[in-house]
Amino acid sequence: MDLAQQWEKPQLSLLGTRALLFEAPGPLGLENQQRIWALAEYADGLPGLAESVPGMNNLMLVFATPPEEPEQLFTQLLSQWRLNQRKTLRGKTVELSVHYGGEFGPHLRDVAEHSGLSVSEVIARHSAPLYPVYALGSHPGYCYLGNMDPRIATPRRQTPLISIPGGAVSIGGLQTGVSASAGPSGWNTIGHTDFIFFDACARPPVTLLPGDNIVFNAVGVSA
Amino acid sequence: MLAMAELRQIALKMRRSGLRDIEIAGNHYRIRLRCDPADRAANPPAAPPPVAASPPADRMITAQRPGIIWFTHPLNDRVMTKPGDTVAAGELIALLGIGQLLLPVYSPQAGMLRRQCVANGSVVEYGTELIALSQGQ
């Protein structure tokens, strides 16, 4: 159940004394994300905040020092949100070659089973859209993408896996994404790509930024 | 900065020599010592000790500054030394806690630790006897 669709207004909560979380109401979409980007830019100018971290239609604000009255900050952010400002970012579109299924796509059948579709339909629906990069997070260079076909949405796994390799193409809930390096994951891994997302020595260190777009191109399938 | 040991030496010399007042100034400090003449009358300089024919007496290891004495580490009660232990010269035998600091108390010479004179975790003053060290093997 996607709680956010039922909210009438944004939800604000605290992450200890270190950060606050602002979650936009309504269906997951690009318009909300553009409003989040605008809110992040507004927050960057506020005293006492160390960093703005957009997520999927949400925003985490990390405190430099914990504010005395977080409620005041909540009110301020809600007022700013109601101004309905949007930040449109126009970036590049990048094509990722993907090999679906097989050894590096162990959960492709689980996704097919959950959605009631055939494996080739899952692949077709996954590789059809243009995916905007909403935000980076999770691990260095990882892109959170919007626009996944809800027909292939699959819940995160019961127990997260200790490690999946870099380049793993996965689905978690309503979202899809590609791992930029090896690490743990609770998502359903359906394929693999060789694309490089991160270089610690480059400026910026990431290849893709919010406002860029990805398309997946199926170059191979293993049953 | 003058250490307490140096001040004690100066005070002893003052008493023996008859000097009444002395003032010492350093970079960030000034110290004044006054020796009360009545004190000198009541405590004349000691006669030299007789030549010892019996085995040497226990040497008392004393606190070099005020603080809290630890024979077992305050974190986990691990015993550092206990009566009966043989120690070498310069060996760590206890810790002296001053505020957050823990300073070492080293044995001045080789010997056997005879008895602890104060309880573990006690507050001690400059000169408090901490532990008796039997001299010789």
């Binding site: 605290l14 200890g16 809930g173 | -």
Partner: protein, 322 residues
């Protein structure tokens, strides 16, 4: 310079962590016990953020290839310089050729080995901490192996050694509780858990499973049940966030955790207790206690005051001793 002679690959170079990279997906990394890091740095006259070697598994043995002072903080395991046992939370002088061996403690996990000026490794994206996922920062972006050589950033930095400090376990009164109590602020999804589950969270002693590490502490106990199964959108998180995946067993996000996640959050461990959590051994138990935002903020202030006071006392002693 030191040469690592024995280590597990879990030893790594850490400072206080990497800031400003969350929006690139770069987490903070950094020492699991930031108090030990800063106090050890103070013992040698280092900047508070100088890098040290964090050691969670033992024995670890290093050989000094030059005369060098050093300090060991964090745990209360045996510290041997050749065949002489040193007190813990202590600074000392090593001569060329001497070997330092660190052994495990049964109740405090991690030790920190400090060198003058800190460990000399390049700064990457503003920090010398090791970023394991992505393999950069620290010593070549990885844990340490035998044969690795590490340098002190300021080998000539002098000052008195041969003294120590009261560990935070004693100074903050933590050593007295048999099962450590960790303070937690409820998070956004606290109310989606059943009342029975919420009570169980606060009342039971949770077991820290062997699958716990710098990424996260996986706890086991009575499962926590949500009133409705939730699919959450990925959102930013910080170390200390307690996530509850579908199996109902909480995971506390630690220093190497992903900077974002999508599992329901029951609460967040307060910043002031993260050092303690980072030192509680795998296989032991932990309990949680609820606090308010203001209490958490006050705890942070008190801890900062303690730390600044201890660092000032050490600096004063270094200036006037010897």
């Amino acid at each position: 310079m030191i040469v690592i002679e024995k280590t597990t690959p879990l030893s790594s170079v850490q400072d206080l962590g990497r800031a400003g990279g969350l929006h690139y997906g770069v987490g903070t990394a950094g020492a699991m016990d930031p108090l030990a890091l800063q106090l050890g740095n103070a013992l040698l006259g280092n900047a508070p953020n100088a890098a040290a070697i964090e050691i969670p598994l033992f024995p670890v043995q290093v050989r000094f290839t030059d005369d060098c002072c050093f300090a060991v903080t964090g745990h209360d395991g045996r510290v041997m310089l050749d065949d002489v046992m040193l007190p813990f939370w202590w600074s000392a002088q090593a001569r060329k050729g001497q070997r330092l061996t660190l052994h495990a403690s049964s109740r405090i996990t991690r030790a920190y080995l400090h060198l003058p000026g800190g460990i000399d490794v390049p700064e990457v994206l503003g920090s010398r901490s090791t970023q394991l996922r992505g393999e950069f920062g620290g010593f070549q972006g990885r844990g340490l192996h035998s044969g690795d050589r590490l340098r002190a950033a300021a080998p000539q930095q002098g000052g008195p050694v041969g003294f120590g400090i009261m560990p935070p376990w004693s100074a903050l009164g933590v050593a007295n509780t048999p099962v450590p109590m960790i303070r937690v602020l409820p998070a956004a999804e606290y109310d989606i858990f059943t009342e029975v589950s919420c009570r169980a969270f606060w009342h039971q002693a949770w077991h820290i499973t062997p699958q716990s590490n710098r990424y996260g502490y996986r706890l086991s106990g009575e499962p926590l049940i949500a009133k409705v199964p939730l699919e959450m959108r990925s959102h930013g998180i910080v170390p200390g966030v307690i996530q509850v995946p579908h199996n109902g067993q909480p995971i506390i996000q630690m220093r190497d955790a992903q900077p974002s996640g999508g599992y329901p959050k029951l609460g967040t461990v307060i910043d002031a207790d993260m050092w303690l959590l980072g030192q509680i051994p795998v296989g032991s138990q932990v309990r949680f206690i609820q606090v308010s935002y203001q209490q958490a903020r006050e705890a942070g202030r008190q801890q900062l005051a303690y730390l600044q006071n201890a660092i000032a006392q050490i600096a004063c002693h270094r200036r006037y001793a010897g």
